[in-house]
Amino acid sequence: MEAEVLKALIAAMTAAGFGIAIAAVGCGLAMGLGLKAAVTGIARNPEASGKIMTTMLIGLALIESLAIYTLVVALLLIFVAPQGVSFTGLLGQ
């Protein structure tokens, strides 16, 4: 029973690590695309740079929030999974 508990916890930690890494990949690609469009816009029309930069920052914050959701799930896996495992009776036996 101890080996199963340990395997469950190791699986949770590994999933947390890989989850954040994959979320960072997607987030980086998406932010790069948004940044590229913003810089192109400023290069074509330098007078609108204030509005473009504001829109770009808001867009980046919204894209980043997807990676933050993954971070919250990873924190749940690392810190709350042991309680969840004990709740299903594995740790008690």
């Binding site: 920052l57 808001i58 914050a61 919204l62 980043e64 929030s65 933050i68 959701y69 971070l71 919250v72 924190l75």
Partner: protein
């Protein structure tokens, strides 16, 4: 990890052992009071000598409130100007709550999941109250989609989408601020003597402002969506 040293909780703990246990378990409530006191003090100081040609403090507050009002009206339109007190309160409260986390010895109230959840629930219920006030019973048309045959499917999708709004608002703010606190704590533990947390503190100022602006923007977009006519 053991609970970090927090000044206001330590001051509150002078009131006795019962207060001490409450103070260290409900840190976010205590620091919410601190932020509320700060906001009240700021408002009092800014409006002490109201003049037509403003002095320095009044000028700063006027710039902030005017900027928020212009931003809100550009999203919601002229008929949404009465939403400024709610939205500006949410913005200033979240901004100041995020910022007090940067001071060593203080805990940001938004670092606990309850504070962003309370703000998101206020926005959620206000959205539906606005929809019912502006449209009456026809507000249900916002949820039924383009044609009457697909109405049950669209009802489920729209309800789930609205609940997802609450979750997304909460976890965006909570994740940003608690992640920043975690990183600050770990860096302080690892290499505090070499001023390692300093870059995170600089990033933290930026993140605090951006998260408050994003919460304000999204709540304005939801209010605008409830006010407009259904497709």
């Amino acid at each position: 990890m053991e609970h970090p040293y927090l000044y206001v909780s330590a001051i509150f703990a002078l009131f006795g052992p019962g207060a001490e246990e409450w103070a260290f378990h409900h840190v976010h409530v205590l620091y919410s009071w601190v932020v509320m006191a700060m906001l009240l003090g700021l408002g009092f100081l800014a409006t002490r000598t109201l003049a037509l040609v403003p002095g320095k403090g009044q000028n700063v507050m006027e710039i902030v409130i005017k900027g928020l009002e212009d931003f809100l009206v550009s999203i919601v339109g002229e008929e949404g100007r009465w939403l400024l007190p709610v939205s500006a309160t949410i913005f200033l409260y979240i901004f100041l709550s995020n910022l007090v986390g940067l001071v060593p010895g203080f805990f940001p109230p938004t670092g606990n999941v309850n504070t962003p959840l309370s703000c998101a629930l206020v926005v959620f219920f206000l959205t539906h109250a606005i929809g019912i006030k502006y449209h009456g019973i026809k507000y249900i048309k916002h949820f039924t989609g383009p044609s009457i045959f697909l109405a049950p499917l669209f009802l489920v999708i729209e309800i789930v989408g609205h609940l997802a709004r609450v979750l997304s608002l909460t976890f965006r703010l909570f994740g940003n601020i608690s992640g920043k606190e975690l990183v600050l704590g770990i860096l302080f533990m690892l290499a505090g003597a070499f001023f390692a947390p300093l870059p995170i503190l600089v990033l933290g100022i930026f993140v605090s402002l951006v998260q408050a602006v994003v919460f304000f923007l999204l709540s304005s977009v939801y209010f605008a969506g409830a006010m407009e006519h259904a497709h």
